[in-house]
């Protein structure tokens, strides 16, 4: 039923609960909605095709290359709408014969937290302390109990006398409990050893967060707030592409950088050279030399999750 333009004044004045009046109202509302649709596309600013494509988008590992390409261009259009900037969503596959590992010299870490800020900028994390993948724990010298650690330290100068610093992040376990916990297989381990997330497949149940013994997974309680000019436009589908509220995310060894041969952002930012990154399958790599010649330890090794993140001392 279409809304009548000719309106009876008497009808208007009189309170009328008739069916005719109700249907008239429905007609008016739908006409208004149609008008708005004509001005601006519906579906949250995206086209109907994009909205349907996003809704029916499959799991990353099940998509064909064409479907992935379509998903990538959808993500790029969405970022363009949200931030007004062109981003490149990469889809680089794992490099053959490479398993990534990390080593960190705890006698060199001085608690400057340069790695934390570099990670936030590189990986498009919400600004203003919304989320950090890396926590630098401050411990009393000689204290090995991580329950006593504090990562909210805010001294005028670090390193503090009598303190030591221990950065923790995702350990990229070789037997990751978070992957076992996920009820929808939204997280898995790639052949190069990186535990990744399909953010579009995550239902936000946060089982993985409670399964992780290292508290390395983080939940987007609200929409990540990133200034458009600080958005890192070099992204990866399984890495630092813009996320939304309600999904879990985690450190991915800067997959957008390391699969191109670059080193992770935390390593590049570290001013003391405490961090070492490399290929565990390459017997000549630095990390293999460290594992063979230094005293190394892994956190919570007794849990059997086989972390690929080692700590060593001078």
């Amino acid at each position: 039923m279409s809304p009548s333009t000719k309106k009876d004044a008497a009808d208007q004045a009189q309170v009328d609960h008739s069916r005719r009046r109700f249907m008239k109202g429905v007609g008016t509302v739908s006409a208004t909605a149609a008008g708005v649709t004509a001005l601006k596309p519906a579906w949250g600013g995206m086209s109907l095709g994009d909205a349907l494509g996003e809704f029916f988008q499959d799991h990353y590992q099940r998509m064909s290359p064409e479907e992935i390409a379509a998903a990538v261009s959808r993500i790029e259009r969405k970022a363009k709408r949200k931030f007004g900037r062109d981003i490149q969503v990469g889809n680089a596959p794992p490099i053959e014969g490479v398993v990534f590992g990390y080593a960190l010299n705890i006698s060199k870490c001085k608690g400057y937290r340069d790695c934390v800020s570099a990670c936030v900028q590189e990986n498009n994390l919400g600004r203003g302390g919304q989320m950090e993948y890396i926590r630098v724990l401050e411990l009393d010298k000689g204290d090995r109990n991580l329950d006593h650690a504090n990562h909210y330290y805010d001294h005028m100068a670090v390193p503090q006398e009598g303190k030591e610093y221990l950065p923790v992040q995702c350990m990229q376990c070789d037997d990751p409990p978070c992957v076992k916990a996920c009820p929808v297989d939204a997280t898995w381990m790639e052949p190069d050893g990186i535990v990744v997330m399909d953010y579009d497949w995550c239902i936000g149940c946060r089982y993985c967060m409670s399964a992780c013994p290292y508290s390395a997974r983080h939940f987007n309680w609200r929409e990540p707030e990133i200034p458009a000019d600080e958005l890192n436009s070099d992204t990866h589908y399984l890495g630092n592409r813009p996320r939304v509220k309600g999904v879990v995310e985690k450190c991915h060894f800067c997959i957008q950088r390391t699969r191109k041969g670059l080193q992770p952002a935390c390593l590049e930012a570290c001013p003391t050279g405490a961090r070492v990154f490399g290929n565990l399958l390459d017997p000549d790599s630095e990390i293999r030399w460290i594992l063979a010649n230094k005293t190394v330890l892994r956190l919570k090794e007794d849990l059997g999750t086989e972390p690929k993140f080692w700590y060593y001392t001078d």
Binding site: R113, G129, L262, Q263, G273, D284, E286, N293
Partner: protein, 233 residues
């Protein structure tokens, strides 16, 4: 090719000649060709013994991948040194330098060293290792390793120092002097940390005063009563 011969216990017979005296003599019945072959074999085996150490001296350490060191000369301020030092005689006497554009005193180690311990007095553009080897400023690790051998080993294999660029392929690492100023004590720089972690809403730790009420509506009530207090005064 070596032929395996059955060893028999030594019976004290050298065959008329003492075996230790020099190279094997010409054996009766050997052809000229065999003699030449034998000589070449001994020359080659000598070469095989001598060559590997000679080559290894250049490739630093066994099993070590090649690496390049990020250049330092481009970052130095007071170069070329000879601009000033060609008019000065090298003075080996440790002292406090007056009006020096570079460091005024050497505090390296226990401050018992002097410039000429590492800088070559005869060529101001070079360093000098303990062995007398002339070393470019870009290769200063060849001087540092004379004393800091354990750290040098760690640096050589990647446990110390920092790799720049890519994690794969050719290894480019920072030199010792990129981080450490060899003229000063190796004190660790103290500075303010960056990127204070955020605290999720509601979990803020109360630094001053009593903790806020646990329930949201209680907090709201408290805030309202505080507001009314302010308006009354």
């Amino acid at each position: 090719m070596t032929t395996v011969t059955e060893s028999k216990p030594f019976d004290g017979d050298y065959g008329g000649k003492p075996a230790w005296r020099g190279r094997p003599r010409r054996r009766q019945g050997d052809s000229e060709e065999e003699r030449v072959n034998r000589r070449w074999r001994s020359v080659l085996s000598c070469l095989l013994l001598v060559l590997p150490p000679l080559l290894a001296a250049e490739s630093e350490a066994p099993g070590q991948k090649d690496f390049t060191v990020a250049p330092r000369t481009t970052e130095l301020e007071h170069v070329p040194c000879k601009d000033c030092h060609q008019y000065m005689d090298p003075n080996p006497e440790p002292r406090q330098l007056v009006d020096s554009p570079h460091v005024a005193e050497v505090r390296h180690g226990k401050a018992d060293m002097w410039c000429t311990a590492c800088h070559a007095p005869e060529n101001h553009q070079q360093l000098r290792a303990l062995s007398g080897l002339a070393v470019d400023f870009d290769d200063s690790h060849r001087v540092c390793r004379d004393c800091h051998s354990a750290t040098y080993q760690d640096w050589l294999y990647g446990a110390h120092g920092k790799r720049v660029g890519s994690w794969q392929g050719e290894r480019e690492i920072l030199n010792c002097t990129a981080c450490h100023d060899p003229h000063l004590n190796l004190n660790v720089l103290q500075r303010r940390p960056v990127a204070l972690p955020g605290v999720r809403a509601g979990l803020e730790r109360q630094v001053h005063g009593p903790a806020p009420p646990r329930r949201l509506w209680q907090r709201k009530q408290q805030a309202e009563s505080e507001e009314s207090d302010v308006t009354e005064h």
